[in-house]
Protein backbone atom coordinates (compact mmCIF):
# COMPACT_ATOMS: atom_id res chain seq x y z
CA UNK A 1 0.00 0.00 0.00
CA UNK A 2 2.31 2.66 -1.20
CA UNK A 3 0.19 5.75 -1.51
CA UNK A 4 -3.17 7.42 -1.98
CA UNK A 5 -5.76 4.87 -1.01
CA UNK A 6 -7.52 6.68 1.78
CA UNK A 7 -11.08 6.10 2.99
CA UNK A 8 -12.67 8.67 0.72
CA UNK A 9 -11.18 6.83 -2.22
CA UNK A 10 -13.39 3.87 -1.45
CA UNK A 11 -15.91 5.27 -3.91
CA UNK A 12 -13.28 4.74 -6.56
CA UNK A 13 -12.97 1.13 -5.61
CA UNK A 14 -16.72 0.71 -5.88
CA UNK A 15 -16.76 2.39 -9.27
CA UNK A 16 -13.82 0.26 -10.28
CA UNK A 17 -15.87 -2.78 -9.35
CA UNK A 18 -18.83 -1.58 -11.41
CA UNK A 19 -16.51 -0.75 -14.25
CA UNK A 20 -14.84 -4.12 -14.28
CA UNK A 21 -18.17 -5.92 -14.09
CA UNK A 22 -19.37 -3.93 -17.07
CA UNK A 23 -16.15 -4.78 -18.85
CA UNK A 24 -16.47 -8.49 -18.15
CA UNK A 25 -20.08 -8.46 -19.31
CA UNK A 26 -18.75 -7.55 -22.71
CA UNK A 27 -20.26 -4.09 -22.76
CA UNK A 28 -16.92 -2.64 -23.67
CA UNK A 29 -14.59 -3.40 -26.50
CA UNK A 30 -10.89 -3.04 -26.02
CA UNK A 31 -11.19 0.58 -27.10
CA UNK A 32 -7.89 2.41 -27.14
CA UNK A 33 -5.71 -0.34 -25.72
CA UNK A 34 -3.26 -2.06 -27.99
CA UNK A 35 -3.68 -5.13 -30.13
CA UNK A 36 -2.41 -8.63 -29.38
CA UNK A 37 1.29 -7.92 -29.20
CA UNK A 38 1.08 -4.25 -28.30
CA UNK A 39 1.27 -2.92 -24.78
CA UNK A 40 -0.17 0.39 -23.61
CA UNK A 41 1.32 1.27 -20.23
CA UNK A 42 -0.21 3.50 -17.58
CA UNK A 43 1.39 5.47 -14.77
CA UNK A 44 0.78 8.32 -12.31
CA UNK A 45 3.57 10.89 -12.58
CA UNK A 46 4.54 12.81 -9.46
CA UNK A 47 6.45 10.14 -7.53
CA UNK A 48 10.14 10.85 -8.11
CA UNK A 49 12.38 9.11 -8.88
CA UNK A 50 9.91 6.41 -9.99
CA UNK A 51 7.83 8.52 -12.35
CA UNK A 52 7.60 12.25 -12.87
CA UNK A 53 7.35 14.85 -15.60
CA UNK A 54 10.40 16.86 -16.63
CA UNK A 55 9.79 19.63 -19.12
CA UNK A 56 6.59 17.87 -20.13
CA UNK A 57 8.29 14.50 -20.69
CA UNK A 58 7.51 11.40 -18.70
CA UNK A 59 10.68 10.05 -17.07
CA UNK A 60 11.74 7.87 -14.15
CA UNK A 61 12.86 4.47 -12.91
CA UNK A 62 9.55 2.69 -13.63
CA UNK A 63 9.45 4.15 -17.13
CA UNK A 64 12.96 3.01 -18.07
CA UNK A 65 12.60 -0.35 -16.34
CA UNK A 66 9.31 -1.30 -18.01
CA UNK A 67 10.65 -0.24 -21.40
CA UNK A 68 13.76 -2.39 -20.86
CA UNK A 69 11.62 -5.35 -19.67
CA UNK A 70 9.23 -5.17 -22.63
CA UNK A 71 12.25 -4.93 -24.94
CA UNK A 72 13.19 -8.47 -23.79
CA UNK A 73 9.80 -9.88 -24.82
CA UNK A 74 7.90 -10.32 -28.09
CA UNK A 75 5.59 -7.50 -27.08
CA UNK A 76 5.92 -3.90 -28.16
CA UNK A 77 5.34 -0.93 -25.84
CA UNK A 78 3.46 1.54 -28.01
CA UNK A 79 2.17 4.22 -25.65
CA UNK A 80 2.24 5.66 -22.11
CA UNK A 81 -0.95 7.05 -20.60
CA UNK A 82 -1.11 9.14 -17.45
CA UNK A 83 -3.76 8.91 -14.76
CA UNK A 84 -4.25 9.78 -11.15
CA UNK A 85 -2.87 6.92 -9.04
CA UNK A 86 -6.33 5.82 -7.91
CA UNK A 87 -7.64 5.71 -11.52
CA UNK A 88 -4.98 3.25 -12.62
CA UNK A 89 -6.80 0.07 -11.59
CA UNK A 90 -10.08 1.07 -13.31
CA UNK A 91 -8.08 2.04 -16.40
CA UNK A 92 -6.42 -1.38 -16.34
CA UNK A 93 -9.58 -3.44 -15.83
CA UNK A 94 -11.38 -1.47 -18.56
CA UNK A 95 -8.57 -2.09 -21.02
CA UNK A 96 -7.61 1.54 -21.44
CA UNK A 97 -4.14 0.34 -20.52
CA UNK A 98 -2.51 -3.12 -20.38
CA UNK A 99 0.03 -2.69 -17.60
CA UNK A 100 0.51 -0.41 -14.58
CA UNK A 101 4.03 0.81 -13.82
CA UNK A 102 3.59 3.20 -10.92
CA UNK A 103 5.55 2.11 -7.84
CA UNK A 104 2.47 0.09 -6.91
CA UNK A 105 2.92 -1.98 -3.78
CA UNK A 106 1.73 -5.57 -4.07
CA UNK A 107 -0.97 -6.10 -1.44
CA UNK A 108 -3.90 -8.44 -0.88
CA UNK A 109 -6.57 -5.85 -1.56
CA UNK A 110 -5.18 -5.05 -4.99
CA UNK A 111 -4.33 -8.68 -5.69
CA UNK A 112 -8.02 -9.53 -5.58
CA UNK A 113 -8.73 -7.25 -8.55
CA UNK A 114 -5.57 -7.44 -10.62
CA UNK A 115 -2.43 -9.55 -11.07
CA UNK A 116 1.13 -8.50 -10.33
CA UNK A 117 4.46 -9.42 -11.87
CA UNK A 118 7.28 -10.58 -9.64
CA UNK A 119 8.40 -7.74 -7.38
CA UNK A 120 10.97 -5.42 -8.90
CA UNK A 121 11.74 -3.11 -5.97
CA UNK A 122 11.70 -3.19 -2.18
CA UNK A 123 10.91 -0.14 -0.11
CA UNK A 124 10.68 0.79 3.56
CA UNK A 125 9.55 3.94 5.32
CA UNK A 126 11.98 6.73 6.15
CA UNK A 127 11.56 9.34 8.88
CA UNK A 128 12.66 12.74 7.56
CA UNK A 129 13.69 15.59 9.86
CA UNK A 130 15.24 19.04 9.31
CA UNK A 131 18.94 18.92 8.51
CA UNK A 132 19.88 21.76 10.87
CA UNK A 133 17.28 20.91 13.54
CA UNK A 134 18.01 19.62 17.01
CA UNK A 135 15.38 16.86 16.76
CA UNK A 136 16.94 13.51 15.83
CA UNK A 137 14.64 10.61 16.70
CA UNK A 138 16.03 7.08 16.67
CA UNK A 139 12.76 5.14 16.80
CA UNK A 140 9.04 5.66 16.34
CA UNK A 141 8.60 6.16 20.09
CA UNK A 142 10.74 9.28 19.98
CA UNK A 143 8.13 10.93 17.77
CA UNK A 144 5.54 11.23 20.53
CA UNK A 145 4.87 14.80 21.50
CA UNK A 146 6.13 16.08 18.14
CA UNK A 147 4.22 17.22 15.04
CA UNK A 148 4.42 14.44 12.44
CA UNK A 149 3.26 14.59 8.81
CA UNK A 150 2.63 12.13 5.96
CA UNK A 151 0.82 11.92 2.64
CA UNK A 152 -2.83 10.87 2.81
CA UNK A 153 -3.45 7.20 2.18
CA UNK A 154 0.20 6.20 2.06
CA UNK A 155 1.94 3.50 4.02
CA UNK A 156 3.72 6.27 5.90
CA UNK A 157 0.38 7.64 7.08
CA UNK A 158 -0.86 4.23 8.18
CA UNK A 159 2.38 3.53 10.05
CA UNK A 160 1.95 6.74 12.06
CA UNK A 161 -1.73 6.07 12.57
CA UNK A 162 -1.42 2.42 13.61
CA UNK A 163 1.82 2.53 15.57
CA UNK A 164 1.51 5.89 17.29
CA UNK A 165 -1.92 7.53 17.19
CA UNK A 166 -4.02 4.47 17.98
CA UNK A 167 -1.81 3.47 20.89
CA UNK A 168 -2.04 7.00 22.29
CA UNK A 169 1.67 7.73 21.93
CA UNK A 170 0.92 10.61 19.59
CA UNK A 171 -1.98 13.05 20.00
CA UNK A 172 -4.23 13.10 16.94
CA UNK A 173 -3.78 16.87 16.67
CA UNK A 174 -0.06 16.32 16.20
CA UNK A 175 -0.56 14.12 13.14
CA UNK A 176 -1.10 15.98 9.86
CA UNK A 177 -1.73 14.47 6.42
CA UNK A 178 -1.22 16.21 3.09
CA UNK A 179 -2.44 15.71 -0.48
CA UNK A 180 1.15 15.55 -1.67
CA UNK A 181 4.32 14.62 0.22
CA UNK A 182 5.95 17.66 -1.43
CA UNK A 183 3.66 19.82 0.70
CA UNK A 184 4.44 17.78 3.82
CA UNK A 185 8.17 18.35 3.29
CA UNK A 186 7.46 22.03 2.65
CA UNK A 187 5.82 22.20 6.08
CA UNK A 188 8.77 20.36 7.62
CA UNK A 189 11.19 22.92 6.18
CA UNK A 190 8.91 25.74 7.40
CA UNK A 191 9.13 24.28 10.93
CA UNK A 192 5.42 23.47 11.19
CA UNK A 193 6.32 19.77 11.43
CA UNK A 194 9.16 17.99 13.22
CA UNK A 195 9.13 14.81 11.11
CA UNK A 196 7.68 13.38 7.90
CA UNK A 197 7.22 9.66 7.14
CA UNK A 198 7.66 8.67 3.45
CA UNK A 199 8.86 5.78 1.26
CA UNK A 200 12.67 5.46 1.43
CA UNK A 201 13.51 6.11 -2.26
CA UNK A 202 11.40 9.26 -2.25
CA UNK A 203 13.00 10.35 1.02
CA UNK A 204 16.41 9.98 -0.64
CA UNK A 205 15.33 12.30 -3.42
CA UNK A 206 14.23 14.88 -0.85
CA UNK A 207 17.45 14.53 1.10
CA UNK A 208 19.31 15.48 -2.08
CA UNK A 209 17.06 18.43 -2.92
CA UNK A 210 15.95 20.01 0.36
CA UNK A 211 17.55 20.82 3.76
CA UNK A 212 16.19 17.59 5.28
CA UNK A 213 17.78 14.36 6.39
CA UNK A 214 16.69 10.78 7.14
CA UNK A 215 16.77 10.22 10.90
CA UNK A 216 16.08 6.48 10.68
CA UNK A 217 14.16 3.98 8.57
CA UNK A 218 11.24 1.85 9.66
CA UNK A 219 11.11 -1.53 7.95
CA UNK A 220 7.80 -2.43 6.32
CA UNK A 221 9.13 -4.69 3.56
CA UNK A 222 6.91 -3.33 0.78
CA UNK A 223 7.45 -4.72 -2.68
CA UNK A 224 6.52 -2.95 -5.90
CA UNK A 225 5.24 -4.90 -8.91
CA UNK A 226 3.86 -4.14 -12.36
CA UNK A 227 0.05 -4.53 -12.40
CA UNK A 228 -1.74 -6.57 -15.07
CA UNK A 229 -5.27 -7.81 -15.78
CA UNK A 230 -6.11 -11.17 -14.29
CA UNK A 231 -6.83 -12.73 -17.68
CA UNK A 232 -3.50 -11.60 -19.15
CA UNK A 233 -1.46 -14.62 -18.07
CA UNK A 234 0.66 -14.70 -21.24
CA UNK A 235 1.66 -11.10 -20.79
CA UNK A 236 2.34 -11.60 -17.09
CA UNK A 237 4.70 -14.52 -17.66
CA UNK A 238 6.39 -12.71 -20.58
CA UNK A 239 7.02 -9.68 -18.36
CA UNK A 240 8.31 -11.90 -15.55
CA UNK A 241 10.77 -13.50 -18.00
CA UNK A 242 11.73 -10.06 -19.27
CA UNK A 243 12.27 -8.79 -15.73
CA UNK A 244 14.51 -11.76 -14.93
CA UNK A 245 16.49 -11.18 -18.14
CA UNK A 246 16.96 -7.49 -17.33
CA UNK A 247 18.10 -8.34 -13.81
CA UNK A 248 20.53 -11.04 -15.05
CA UNK A 249 22.10 -8.88 -17.73
CA UNK A 250 22.95 -6.08 -15.31
CA UNK A 251 20.67 -3.64 -17.10
CA UNK A 252 18.52 -3.40 -13.97
CA UNK A 253 21.58 -2.20 -12.00
CA UNK A 254 22.31 0.41 -14.63
CA UNK A 255 18.80 1.82 -14.56
CA UNK A 256 18.72 1.77 -10.76
CA UNK A 257 22.05 3.56 -10.52
CA UNK A 258 20.81 6.18 -12.92
CA UNK A 259 17.73 7.06 -10.88
CA UNK A 260 18.90 6.34 -7.34
CA UNK A 261 22.41 7.74 -7.62
CA UNK A 262 21.89 9.96 -4.57
CA UNK A 263 20.94 6.98 -2.45
Amino acid sequence: MSRRFSMDRRSYLKVAGVASTAGLAGCLSSFGAGGDQEIVAGTAPGFPPFEMKEGGDLVGFDIDLLEAVVEETDYELTEWREFEFSSLIPALTNENIDVVAAAMTINDERDETIDFTDPYYNADQAILVREDGSFSPGSLDDLSGHAVGAQEGTTGASVVDEELVQSGDLEESNFKTYGSYVLAVEDLVNENLDAVVVDTPVANTFEAQRPVTIAFTYETGERYGFGLREDADDMTSALNDGLAAVQDSGEYEEIRNEWFSEA
Binding site: Y12, S86, S87, N94, V182
Partner: protein
Protein backbone atom coordinates in the same frame (compact mmCIF):
# COMPACT_ATOMS: atom_id res chain seq x y z
CA UNK B 1 15.98 22.99 -34.00
CA UNK B 2 17.67 26.38 -34.51
CA UNK B 3 14.36 28.07 -33.78
CA UNK B 4 14.03 25.97 -30.60
CA UNK B 5 17.46 27.04 -29.34
CA UNK B 6 16.71 30.67 -30.21
CA UNK B 7 13.42 30.59 -28.32
CA UNK B 8 15.11 28.91 -25.37
CA UNK B 9 17.79 31.60 -25.19
CA UNK B 10 15.07 34.22 -25.32
CA UNK B 11 13.20 32.63 -22.43
CA UNK B 12 16.41 32.35 -20.40
CA UNK B 13 17.15 36.03 -21.09
CA UNK B 14 13.67 37.16 -20.01
CA UNK B 15 13.76 35.06 -16.84
CA UNK B 16 17.36 35.83 -15.92
CA UNK B 17 16.75 38.66 -13.46
CA UNK B 18 14.36 36.69 -11.25
CA UNK B 19 15.08 34.72 -8.04
CA UNK B 20 15.81 31.06 -8.79
CA UNK B 21 12.35 29.62 -8.06
CA UNK B 22 10.55 32.35 -10.00
CA UNK B 23 13.01 31.70 -12.80
CA UNK B 24 11.83 28.10 -12.79
CA UNK B 25 8.19 29.20 -13.04
CA UNK B 26 9.11 31.66 -15.79
CA UNK B 27 11.00 29.02 -17.77
CA UNK B 28 8.03 26.69 -17.59
CA UNK B 29 5.50 29.38 -18.48
CA UNK B 30 4.87 27.80 -21.87
CA UNK B 31 4.16 24.44 -20.28
CA UNK B 32 1.65 26.07 -17.91
CA UNK B 33 0.19 28.02 -20.83
CA UNK B 34 -0.56 24.71 -22.55
CA UNK B 35 -2.49 23.64 -19.46
CA UNK B 36 -4.27 26.98 -19.35
CA UNK B 37 -5.38 26.54 -22.94
CA UNK B 38 -6.79 23.12 -22.10
CA UNK B 39 -8.55 24.52 -19.02
CA UNK B 40 -10.15 27.34 -21.01
CA UNK B 41 -11.18 25.02 -23.86
CA UNK B 42 -12.70 22.55 -21.39
CA UNK B 43 -14.60 25.32 -19.60
CA UNK B 44 -16.03 26.92 -22.75
CA UNK B 45 -17.06 23.63 -24.35
CA UNK B 46 -18.64 22.39 -21.11
CA UNK B 47 -20.52 25.63 -20.40
CA UNK B 48 -21.91 25.66 -23.96
CA UNK B 49 -23.00 22.02 -23.74
CA UNK B 50 -24.45 22.74 -20.30
CA UNK B 51 -26.43 25.67 -21.68
CA UNK B 52 -27.65 23.74 -24.72
CA UNK B 53 -29.03 20.97 -22.48
CA UNK B 54 -29.71 22.93 -19.30
CA UNK B 55 -31.86 25.73 -20.65
CA UNK B 56 -34.45 23.44 -22.28
CA UNK B 57 -34.35 21.24 -19.18
CA UNK B 58 -35.11 24.22 -16.97
CA UNK B 59 -37.98 25.25 -19.25
CA UNK B 60 -39.40 21.73 -19.14
CA UNK B 61 -39.27 21.75 -15.35
CA UNK B 62 -41.41 24.87 -15.35
CA UNK B 63 -43.75 24.37 -18.32
CA UNK B 64 -43.39 20.70 -19.33
CA UNK B 65 -45.96 17.91 -19.13
CA UNK B 66 -46.00 15.76 -16.00
CA UNK B 67 -43.90 12.94 -17.48
CA UNK B 68 -41.35 15.18 -19.19
CA UNK B 69 -40.97 17.10 -15.95
CA UNK B 70 -40.51 13.91 -13.94
CA UNK B 71 -37.88 12.56 -16.35
CA UNK B 72 -35.88 15.81 -16.31
CA UNK B 73 -36.10 16.04 -12.53
CA UNK B 74 -34.83 12.49 -12.00
CA UNK B 75 -31.87 12.94 -14.35
CA UNK B 76 -31.13 16.27 -12.66
CA UNK B 77 -31.16 14.81 -9.16
CA UNK B 78 -28.82 11.98 -10.19
CA UNK B 79 -26.37 14.33 -11.91
CA UNK B 80 -26.36 16.88 -9.13
CA UNK B 81 -25.93 14.20 -6.49
CA UNK B 82 -22.92 12.49 -8.10
CA UNK B 83 -19.37 13.72 -7.47
CA UNK B 84 -17.75 15.03 -10.63
CA UNK B 85 -14.93 12.49 -10.46
CA UNK B 86 -17.44 9.63 -10.51
CA UNK B 87 -19.19 11.21 -13.51
CA UNK B 88 -15.82 11.35 -15.29
CA UNK B 89 -15.15 7.72 -14.52
CA UNK B 90 -18.51 6.86 -16.04
CA UNK B 91 -18.05 8.93 -19.21
CA UNK B 92 -14.52 7.65 -19.71
CA UNK B 93 -14.29 4.10 -18.33
CA UNK B 94 -17.77 2.67 -17.90
CA UNK B 95 -19.76 4.10 -20.82
CA UNK B 96 -17.01 5.71 -22.90
CA UNK B 97 -18.83 8.43 -24.84
CA UNK B 98 -16.22 8.46 -27.58
CA UNK B 99 -17.23 4.96 -28.55
CA UNK B 100 -20.58 6.27 -29.75
CA UNK B 101 -19.44 9.71 -30.80
CA UNK B 102 -15.85 9.38 -32.04
CA UNK B 103 -15.47 13.16 -32.33
CA UNK B 104 -11.82 12.83 -31.40
CA UNK B 105 -11.16 11.18 -34.76
CA UNK B 106 -12.32 14.34 -36.56
CA UNK B 107 -11.30 17.15 -34.20
CA UNK B 108 -7.81 17.51 -32.74
CA UNK B 109 -8.90 16.53 -29.23
CA UNK B 110 -8.23 13.42 -27.13
CA UNK B 111 -10.87 10.91 -26.08
CA UNK B 112 -10.27 11.99 -22.47
CA UNK B 113 -11.07 15.59 -23.45
CA UNK B 114 -14.38 14.54 -25.00
CA UNK B 115 -15.27 12.44 -21.95
CA UNK B 116 -14.43 15.40 -19.67
CA UNK B 117 -16.54 17.84 -21.70
CA UNK B 118 -19.50 15.47 -21.67
CA UNK B 119 -19.12 14.87 -17.92
CA UNK B 120 -18.69 18.53 -17.00
CA UNK B 121 -21.32 19.58 -19.56
CA UNK B 122 -24.00 17.22 -18.25
CA UNK B 123 -23.32 18.15 -14.63
CA UNK B 124 -23.40 21.84 -15.60
CA UNK B 125 -26.66 21.25 -17.50
CA UNK B 126 -28.21 19.91 -14.30
CA UNK B 127 -27.09 23.01 -12.38
CA UNK B 128 -28.06 25.39 -15.17
CA UNK B 129 -31.52 23.79 -15.41
CA UNK B 130 -32.13 24.83 -11.78
CA UNK B 131 -30.72 28.28 -12.44
CA UNK B 132 -33.05 28.86 -15.39
CA UNK B 133 -36.00 27.24 -13.60
CA UNK B 134 -35.53 29.81 -10.84
CA UNK B 135 -35.33 32.77 -13.18
CA UNK B 136 -38.26 31.57 -15.31
CA UNK B 137 -40.38 31.20 -12.18
CA UNK B 138 -39.29 34.62 -10.97
CA UNK B 139 -41.06 36.31 -13.89
CA UNK B 140 -44.41 37.53 -12.60
CA UNK B 141 -47.38 35.36 -13.58
CA UNK B 142 -49.13 38.52 -14.77
CA UNK B 143 -46.64 38.77 -17.64
CA UNK B 144 -47.80 35.42 -18.94
CA UNK B 145 -51.47 36.31 -18.50
CA UNK B 146 -50.97 39.61 -20.28
CA UNK B 147 -49.17 37.94 -23.17
CA UNK B 148 -51.93 35.35 -23.53
CA UNK B 149 -54.55 38.11 -23.29
CA UNK B 150 -53.11 39.91 -26.34
CA UNK B 151 -53.43 36.68 -28.28
CA UNK B 152 -50.01 34.97 -28.07
CA UNK B 153 -49.95 31.19 -27.89
CA UNK B 154 -48.40 29.67 -24.74
CA UNK B 155 -45.17 28.81 -26.57
CA UNK B 156 -44.92 32.29 -28.13
CA UNK B 157 -45.66 33.93 -24.78
CA UNK B 158 -42.83 31.97 -23.16
CA UNK B 159 -40.49 32.68 -26.04
CA UNK B 160 -41.13 36.39 -26.51
CA UNK B 161 -42.17 37.57 -23.07
CA UNK B 162 -40.96 35.30 -20.27
CA UNK B 163 -37.63 33.99 -21.63
CA UNK B 164 -36.11 37.40 -22.49
CA UNK B 165 -36.79 38.59 -18.95
CA UNK B 166 -35.69 35.33 -17.33
CA UNK B 167 -32.40 35.21 -19.27
CA UNK B 168 -31.48 38.66 -17.98
CA UNK B 169 -32.15 37.63 -14.43
CA UNK B 170 -30.04 34.49 -14.79
CA UNK B 171 -26.72 36.28 -15.32
CA UNK B 172 -25.69 36.40 -11.63
CA UNK B 173 -26.35 32.69 -11.22
CA UNK B 174 -24.55 32.02 -14.46
CA UNK B 175 -21.43 33.79 -13.14
CA UNK B 176 -21.42 31.35 -10.27
CA UNK B 177 -21.84 28.36 -12.58
CA UNK B 178 -19.00 29.51 -14.81
CA UNK B 179 -16.65 29.72 -11.85
CA UNK B 180 -17.63 26.25 -10.66
CA UNK B 181 -17.01 24.65 -14.07
CA UNK B 182 -13.68 26.45 -14.45
CA UNK B 183 -12.41 25.12 -11.15
CA UNK B 184 -13.80 21.62 -11.61
CA UNK B 185 -11.87 21.13 -14.84
CA UNK B 186 -8.93 20.27 -12.56
CA UNK B 187 -10.63 16.99 -11.58
CA UNK B 188 -10.03 15.77 -15.16
CA UNK B 189 -6.62 14.53 -14.00
CA UNK B 190 -8.52 11.41 -12.92
CA UNK B 191 -8.93 10.44 -16.58
CA UNK B 192 -5.49 11.63 -17.61
CA UNK B 193 -5.98 15.21 -18.81
CA UNK B 194 -3.03 17.46 -18.01
CA UNK B 195 -4.76 20.80 -17.47
CA UNK B 196 -3.43 23.76 -15.51
CA UNK B 197 -3.54 22.40 -11.94
CA UNK B 198 -2.11 19.02 -12.94
CA UNK B 199 0.78 20.65 -14.74
CA UNK B 200 1.54 22.88 -11.76
CA UNK B 201 1.72 19.79 -9.52
CA UNK B 202 4.09 18.17 -11.98
CA UNK B 203 6.24 21.28 -11.81
CA UNK B 204 6.54 21.45 -8.06
CA UNK B 205 7.33 17.77 -7.86
CA UNK B 206 10.16 18.49 -10.28
CA UNK B 207 11.44 21.54 -8.36
CA UNK B 208 10.34 21.01 -4.78
CA UNK B 209 11.64 24.35 -3.52
CA UNK B 210 9.31 26.20 -5.90
CA UNK B 211 6.00 25.05 -4.35
CA UNK B 212 4.93 28.52 -3.21
CA UNK B 213 5.99 30.19 -6.43
CA UNK B 214 4.18 27.70 -8.68
CA UNK B 215 0.99 27.84 -6.60
CA UNK B 216 1.05 31.65 -6.50
CA UNK B 217 1.53 31.75 -10.27
CA UNK B 218 -1.40 29.48 -11.10
CA UNK B 219 -3.61 31.10 -8.45
CA UNK B 220 -3.00 34.38 -10.23
CA UNK B 221 -3.95 32.76 -13.53
CA UNK B 222 -7.18 31.31 -12.10
CA UNK B 223 -7.95 34.66 -10.48
CA UNK B 224 -7.48 36.58 -13.72
CA UNK B 225 -9.68 34.07 -15.53
CA UNK B 226 -12.56 34.17 -13.07
CA UNK B 227 -12.29 37.89 -12.35
CA UNK B 228 -12.10 38.79 -16.04
CA UNK B 229 -15.07 36.65 -16.99
CA UNK B 230 -17.14 37.80 -14.05
CA UNK B 231 -16.48 41.45 -14.89
CA UNK B 232 -17.46 40.78 -18.50
CA UNK B 233 -20.70 39.13 -17.32
CA UNK B 234 -21.30 42.10 -14.99
CA UNK B 235 -21.08 44.38 -18.00
CA UNK B 236 -23.49 42.15 -19.88
CA UNK B 237 -25.83 42.22 -16.91
CA UNK B 238 -25.83 46.01 -16.77
CA UNK B 239 -26.19 46.39 -20.50
CA UNK B 240 -29.22 44.11 -20.65
CA UNK B 241 -30.71 44.77 -17.23
CA UNK B 242 -34.49 45.06 -17.10
CA UNK B 243 -35.16 48.79 -16.68
CA UNK B 244 -36.42 49.67 -13.19
CA UNK B 245 -40.00 50.86 -12.80
CA UNK B 246 -40.13 54.54 -13.62
Amino acid sequence: MVVGVGALLEVVAVCAGLPADWQFVCQNADYLAGGLLLTVALTIASILLGFAAGFPAGAIEVYGSTYAKLAVEIVGVVLRGTPIVVIFIFTFFVFPVTEWFPIHRVLPVSDAFVAAVVGLGLRSAAYQAQLFRGSLQSVDAGQMEAARAVGLSKVDAIRHVVVPQALRRSVPGFQNEFTIVLKDTSVAIAIGLAELLTRSQELFVQETTAVTEVILAISAVYFVLTFGTNRALDQLNERYAIPEDS
